[in-house]
Structure formats: structure tokens, C-alpha cells
């Protein structure tokens, strides 16, 4: 459902991005990135050791954040970052990236 909406939106934005058509409605509010998600792509991208998050299963991302937060999963830096997000925020971030398809 979200994926379908995103696909339609992506098609609309592709047109807008080319500045070739009148602007349609801006992106609907419900697909805005949740708090914190925009920062993740400063490190997480295809080709980097940290890896891309787009399209990874929601449970995998949320589980990793929980394990970093508790210290159960060893980390250089994600242990320090994950503690800035609670369970609900982590799940929202995980769902956002899971819904973005493969990069």
C-alpha cells in the first residue's frame, strides 16, 4: 500500500524534478521521513561498509537498533547513536527505510 503510493509519488516527482510540468500537489504528509531518518543516509549508502538501509526488512533495522541500544551488539559508533532513539522512533525509522525499496 505504502509502496504503491510511493511509486506513484516517485513517478510524479520524476516529472517535477525535470521541471518540465506544472507542479502538482507536494508530497503527502504521511510519507515524510520520521524524526532522525534523514541523518542516516549521511553514512548508510550502497558501496560503503555501513551499507545502504533502503529496502532492508523493517524487523532487521529495528532489531539492529535495539541491539545497539542495549549494547548487546558490539559497535564502534552505532551504540552511541541508537541510544538517541526510543523503540517507537526506531520502528518508524525502520519502516521508512524498509518502504523505500532496494537502492
Amino acid at each position: 500500500m505504502i509502496r504503491a503510493r510511493r511509486a506513484r509519488l516517485a513517478a510524479a516527482l520524476a516529472v517535477l524534478g525535470a521541471n518540465a510540468a506544472p507542479a502538482a500537489e507536494p508530497p503527502p504528509a504521511e510519507i515524510r521521513p520520521p524524526a532522525g531518518a534523514a541523518s542516516c543516509t549521511g553514512c548508510h549508502a550502497a558501496g560503503a561498509a555501513m551499507g545502504a538501509l533502503d529496502g532492508r526488512p523493517e524487523s532487521e533495522i529495528a532489531g539492529a537498533l535495539a541491539a545497539f541500544r542495549s549494547g548487546e551488539r558490539p559497535a564502534t559508533i552505532m551504540n552511541r547513536i541508537a541510544r538517541g532513539f526510543d523503540e517507537a522512533e526506531s520502528r518508524a525509522i525502520a519502516a521508512w527505510f524498509a518502504g523505500r525499496g532496494t537502492p
Binding site: A12, A29, I81, E89
Partner: protein, 427 residues
Amino acid sequence: MCATLSGPAGTPAPTRRALIGGAAATVLACPARAGTAPRVVVVGAGFGGATAARYLARGGAAVSLVEASPTYVACPFSNEVVAGLRGIEAQTFGYDGLGRAGLTLLRATASAVDPDARRVSLADGASLPYDRLILSPGIDLRFDAVPGYDAQAVTAMPHAWKAGAQTVLLARQLAALPEGGTVVLSAPANPYRCPPGPYERASLIAHFLKTRKPRAKLILLDAKDTFSKQKLFEEAWATLYPDVLEHVPLSSGGQVTAVDPAAMVVRTDFAEYKADVACIIPPQRAGRIAVLAGCADRSGWCPIDPVTFESQRVAGIHVIGDAAVAGAMPKSAFSANAQGKVCAQAVLDLLAGRAPQTPKLINTCYSLVAPGYGISIAGVFHPANGLLADVPGAGGTSPLGAPAAQRAQEAAQGEDWYRTITRDAFG
């Protein structure tokens, strides 16, 4: 005449020459959407402005990105250039990727802002109307702050705090340092671009001296007693550079009070240092266009709303990156990139009549104290009491006493971060 690009009465619009690459066709074709897409002007195509412009264009805004330079030379990792570990070309990025991002890239200097008429004036006489303006001008060096350190002094005593020719100049001067020579490096008081930067520079210059210039010394004159990643730097210095690097903090008379570039002398209240190479990192302020727009306060920096990055002083103008007063969030490339994305979303929301969401932002900053020896600081930030504050319990630095393998891992992660963030910003 395009809605997004027009000259004031009697002055021509920017010529085709002034437009970069594929962006020219976008503007000259003048698509029939006058008055429909919200118009956003972004000034400054560094980590903050380039990121914001790309994300705004993706979100459907008609974006004009104003940048005077033909290429961007990145500061992160430029201390490696200073120390001869890396070429300046690894720091240099073209803007072709931005030209392909569906935005209009204007190679021009923004010379004035009229916030009432909502127009940005360009030095060539053109003016750009905007619905929202984002300023990401970075820093200006204050040549009125250290007696003797004016704009002419930078040849004899480079700051190398804006990457480019200055970085290469300092690297050349170090390479030519006589045997047993003295290097003086000065660090300013807070706030300034890249809080751990002077200490990473001190580390890598010390590495250069230790490996290439036996018996040479580095004196780090510091206008502070405490600084970012301090214990980690001091741990590394004690192990790696005990005979090379002398750190003189504020309380030991480390504040530079004057320089004499002709004599290559750096003065404090207590001593006079004769240098063979002197790198003076002077105090800074927000880039000039933010000051001209009225966004800077008496500190020289620009207070902002922590949710939208809109100026607290001028409605309709947002300030991101080093120029902004972002509370606990440091002036770093990672911060500017994160702020660019949050600000772009907030601007899209405001233009659509939606309430912007309360954001959280992350900063991560790697420093290299020697090749293969990386340390980091991270933070998570949220709006609190009108500023961006640390989220309690999150963030912090790499551990003290970590094994070499972890230092090597962080050095490699820093390299990966640099590749990722430059792609996110510049395409």
C-alpha cells in the same frame, strides 16, 4: 521572462554563460509553470546548501542554487592534504551532479537580499524572487580579530581553514620546512568550523614531522583549555608524538594576541614564537551574505528555529550549516548535510501549508590522529528550549584505551563516510 529568473528593470537576466551545464536548458526553456511550483533559492553549494537543494528538487520545488565557485573543495580530510598524505584532487568535487538533479544551478555571487520583496540580488545585476530562501554560506574568517592577521597575512601564515589553495600552500610550506624547524599552529576560541579540526591538524602535522622532518617541533597555541575529543587526542599524542608536539592551552598562555607575518613571529601575552611555518586559524563568523541579509546577531552567527532552521531575525530565510547557531550541534560537514535534509523537508512543508515535524538530527565526526588511527564523536540532537540540544544518554566519543584494531576500523569508517556524504551532497 522566467518566473524563477528575472533581471530587475533595465538589467539583463543572467546570460547563458552564467549558467552551468544542463541547468541552462532548464532555465532558458522557461517551462510553462509560472507561479505554480514554489520557488526556493539556495545560496551556497557546500555540504549544507547542495544537500538542501537536491532534496528540495526531489520534493517538487523549483530550486535555484547560487554558487560562485566552479568546484567545491571539501574540508573533511583536508588535514591529510596538509600532511602530504593525500592530494587536493581527492577533496575537489564538480557540480555536474547537481546540474542533473532537476535544479537550476547559477554560477553567481549573491550580493544582497531584500527580505520584504523576497528577492536575492546577484552581483551581475540579476535578481531571483523566492518564496523561501536558504542560506548556507559557511564561514568568513575574521581578519579583525588577531592584530597583524589580515587578509594579506594568509600567504605567509596560511589558515587553510577553507580548503583549496590555502591547503596546498600550507602543505608546500611544511614540505619545505628546514631540518629541526619550528611549526606554530593556533586554534581559536569557540565557536568555529570543525571543533576537533585544529587537533586533527596538529596530530597529522606531528606525524609528518616525526616521519619526514626529524628534530622538528610543533607548538600548538590554543585559545581554549578544553576541546572536542580531548582525552582521545591527548592519549594519542602521549603515545605517538611526545617529543614532537607541545600543546599550550589557554591557562598556560596559549592565546595568540598578535602575529607579525613579515618576521614570522607569533605572540601571546607571555611569549614570542619564531616560526618557520605558521598556521593561524583565526576566529570566524557566518558567511557574508548571511550578515548582509540581517540574519547574524552580534556574535556574528545566525540564530535559527531548531525545527525549521528559519532565521530568528528575518522571516522567510533559513540558515543551515556552519553559519547557523545550532546549539549543541557542532559546525561540521555531517551536521550541515543533516540540517540540509531537515530544512528542505521543513521548507516543503511550510510551502504546502503543513506543520513541519519536530526533527531529530545526528552528527558523526571522525578525526585521524595518524594513518590508520581514527577516533570519533557522535551526537543526537533535538529541539529543546529554542535550541538544538543533546538527546540525553546518546552520543559521546570512542573509548579511551581501545585496541589498535578498533582505531583502524574507525579510520576506515571515516573514509567510507567521506565517500558517502560527498555523494549525498554533490551527486
